[in-house]
Each structure stands twice: as structure tokens, then as C-alpha cells.
Symmetry: C2
Subunit: 190 residues, 2 copies
Amino acid sequence: MSEAVWNVLADKGFGGLTLRAVAAEMGVSTGMLMHYFPAKRALIAHALDLLEKRTAERPRRERPAEGLATVRAMLLDILPLTADDTARNRIWVSSWDLALADDGLATDQADRYTRMRSALRPHLEAARGLGELPAAADPEQLAATAVAFTHGLVVQALFDPGRFPGDLQIAMLDGFLASLARPQRSGAPR
Amino acid sequence: MSEAVWNVLADKGFGGLTLRAVAAEMGVSTGMLMHYFPAKRALIAHALDLLEKRTAERPRRERPAEGLATVRAMLLDILPLTADDTARNRIWVSSWDLALADDGLATDQADRYTRMRSALRPHLEAARGLGELPAAADPEQLAATAVAFTHGLVVQALFDPGRFPGDLQIAMLDGFLASLARPQRSGAPR
């Protein structure tokens, strides 16, 4: 059943997640499915749990190094570089419509962003300590900037996969990280 | 009627856009509204047109300067710094669920991103010519990076406006632009 819910989400998003669509994907009757999901809300809750679970359990790159190399591995784990990564990202982006309209779900998403920034921050602090970032770098602000860049790239790549193949996404990430690593030039324009 | 559609979108997103919700917002019957929108699809088409129109007609900052100062003004015009900007961004992000599930709407969104990058690129080229960017900078890739950073910041700020007040969004944008402007350091980590 989870597989059917996932396939409907990857194809149609939360806007297309209905008992009828899941039943059709499973080849069962809508009535049979109502035994498990008596209301639309139960189906959505199952879908969101599934998304959290599959995100937590996704394969991740090794993080052997310190500093910016670790940040790079963490951000590569987010980008839609494989079919599975693309489906998961596509479902996350789709969930934002639902989440923005529901105070509880919006808080969950804000907390998720806080956790992402908190996970990146110690590695940005280490990068600063290693001299990979300017001494004046603010790890909390850079964590928010790195998450912003990565999620904005996810959205562009989802809409235009032909224009953003994996090697371009990786080159953009490396260019972004290299720009953070540059020493401050006096008189940068404001 | 457009005002009612806009208010429903800003509050509930495309997922909550129904004839019933718009009728309730207008204080009329759903039957009366079906005269204008015989099908849900007509209501969605009207909503998307309205979003395009209000985006095209939004007030914009003057663009007196060349190079990165112009890029800065263009990106500031995107960020959710006012209530109107916030509503418009919130509706755009909500529309992505719909757009990802519909080939025609997905192409429209990919084209919109192409236009955003094309609008930024000449100013990034000018910035390079002015010496504001490294000589090796790739304006097309930097345009995609700037759009990614800006839209990713939009999403984080929409979910957590208390954590991302306007002055922080502007500081993050200025930090991002300053990092692009730094001269390349040899041995930046990969």
C-alpha cells in the first residue's frame, strides 16, 4: 500500500493524492481502501509519514572529512541526482502547498529547516576553524544560505531536468562552495 | 471576483482553491459562481492568469545602476519583504504542486525560470566587465545560482517568517552577492 501511495505522490503530488488514485494504483476498490483510510486526512498523514521515513532512511554518502567537504556531501545527498532522489524531492516540493495552508504542518516544515541548518552549522564552524572560510563567516547565516541555494536548485532542476543534469548540479554546488571559500575582497559592491 | 480568488489562494493555496471557498469568500452561492467557472479547471486557469498578471504588475525597485547593484535590485524584488510580496510568493510556491503534476504547467514554469535567468545574465556579464566578478565567472551558471539562492530563501522565509525578517533576508542576499564578488582563492576545497 505504501508503494502505491508513493507512486501516486511521485506522479501527481499531494494535489492528486486521492483514495481513488491509490485504489487504482493498487488494483483494488475505493471501498476496500476506506477500511484503512476512513478520511482523506488519514491518507495524507500516512503519505507524510512515508515521506519522512523514506527521507530518513535514504542512502547517504560517507562523511569522512571535516569542514566544507562534509558540507558538500550533505548537500549532494539532497540534490535530485538519481531517480529516487528526484521522486523524493518532487514529493517534498509538492507537500509545501499543503504545509503552507496548515499551521501544524507549517511548523513541522519550519522545524525541519531548523534541523537542516543545525546539522550543517558545526561543519561550517569546523571549516572556519580550518581556514576554509573567512574568519568573519557566520556559520548560522551560511547554513541558511546553503539550504536556500540547495532547495532553490532542487526546484529549478525538477522543472527542467534536461537543463539541469546531475553534472551541472554538482558543478553549481562546487561553484557555490568555492565562492563561500574565497577571502573577502575590500570594496565588494553593495 | 479576482480579489476573492486571490484571498483564497493566499490563505489556502491551490490545494484549497474550490468553487465553494471562492463563493464563501464572495458571499454568493456556489451555483452563481459556476456560471463563470463551469469546471474546476477554469477556476485554476483564472487563478494562474491572475498570479502571472499580479507578478508582472507588481511595483519594482528602480534599476539605476549597472552590474551587481542591478542584480541586487532584481533579487530584492522577488523576496517576501512586504505582505503583498509574501502573499504572491506563497501562491507561487503553492502552484508548484499543481505544475509538477501537469506537463503543460511544468513547461510554463521551466520557461519562467529560463526568463528569470535570461533577465539576470546581462547584468552579471556587465558585473564581470566592471571587475565586480572574477574574470572566470560564468554568467549563465551564476544566474541559475542566484535564482536558486533567492527561491530557496523565499521558501525558508515563508515557513518561518519570525526567523527570517526582512533585514535578515537582505543581509543574506548581500552576503551571497559579496561571496560571488570575492576574487578566487587558490586551493579552494572541492
